[in-house]
């Protein structure tokens, strides 16, 4: 009971605020690597949101989604880092 209340009224709003802040950095970030870092943060924040939803909805299967999501976001960050390194001005 108290867990559901806290998760819904405290934890999810905090994570949403964090998502908004990370999105501001994604929008203003002066260079591409800044945006990649913001994107990485957004990805892991979403994994956190999924974990909180797993607690709220009593579905432990949702948590598998979070772990796969974390793995895929790591792979995409590696790919973008490779691209940044290759796409430099000659």
């Amino acid at each position: 009971m108290i867990v559901d209340f806290v998760a819904f009224w405290v934890v999810l709003p905090m994570l949403s605020l964090a998502l908004v802040l990370a999105f501001i950095r994604l929008a203003i970030g002066p260079t591409l690597p800044d945006r990649v870092v913001a994107f990485e943060l957004i990805a892991i924040l979403l994994a956190g949101v999924i974990v909180v939803y797993a607690v709220l909805g009593e579905h432990s299967a949702l948590f598998d989604v979070a772990s796969v999501w974390a793995i895929i976001s790591f792979l995409s960050v590696v790919a973008i880092a490779y691209y940044i390194e290759k796409a430099r001005k000659p």
């Binding site: 009971m1 108290i2 867990v3 806290v6 998760a7 405290v10 934890v11 905090m14 994570l15 605020l17 964090a18 998502l19 802040l21 990370a22 501001i24 950095r25 260079t31 591409l32 690597p33 800044d34 990649v36 870092v37 913001a38 990485e40 943060l41 892991i44 924040l45 994994a47 956190g48 974990v51 909180v52 797993a54 607690v55 432990s60 948590f63 598998d64 979070a66 772990s67 974390a70 793995i71 790591f74 960050v77 590696v78 973008i80 880092a81 490779y82 940044i84 390194e85 290759k86 796409a87 430099r88 001005k89 000659p90």
Partner: protein, 140 residues
């Protein structure tokens, strides 16, 4: 009692994540943003997963949570190392108050191809490797 502990862990994890988000907005340059992020996010995720394990109280969930946490703790430094290196090579500026840049001695901070940088110090293989890299680069 258990419920209060779980709620506290959830709040703790979420606040570390929120602090990482504030940090990414506030820190003056990319490198500091990354070094703030990696730590806070990993710790925050650790607390959230601990809360999840205590909530479900199953061995399967616990082992999967441990595997996920180990995976995140292993990959977070790798990806920030990759981005940091790529950013440095592509010339992202350091904060104006940075005191010393000893990596500049290695790269001299001018546009230079990756292959030149990497293979300039071992002459025996440098020529053919450089050629090979150029070939693949052209195909790419």
């Amino acid at each position: 009692m258990m419920e209060i502990l779980i709620a506290a862990l959830l709040i703790l994890g979420a606040s570390f994540m929120l602090i990482a988000a504030i940090g990414i907005l506030k820190m003056p340059d990319l490198y500091m943003r990354m070094s703030v992020n990696t730590k806070s996010v990993t710790l925050g995720m650790g607390f959230l997963l601990l809360a999840l394990v205590l909530h479900f109280h199953e061995i399967g969930v616990a082992s999967r949570a441990l595997a996920t946490l180990v995976f995140i703790a292993m990959t977070a430094p790798i990806s920030s190392h990759l981005i940091g290196r790529a950013a440095y090579l592509s010339g992202v500026e350091l904060w104006s108050e940075t005191r010393r840049d000893e990596l500049g001695d290695l790269y001299q901070r001018r546009p230079m191809s990756m292959e030149q940088v990497l293979f300039s110090e071992n002459p025996p293989h440098s020529m053919d490797l450089e050629q090979e890299e150029k070939d693949t680069e052209d195909n790419f």
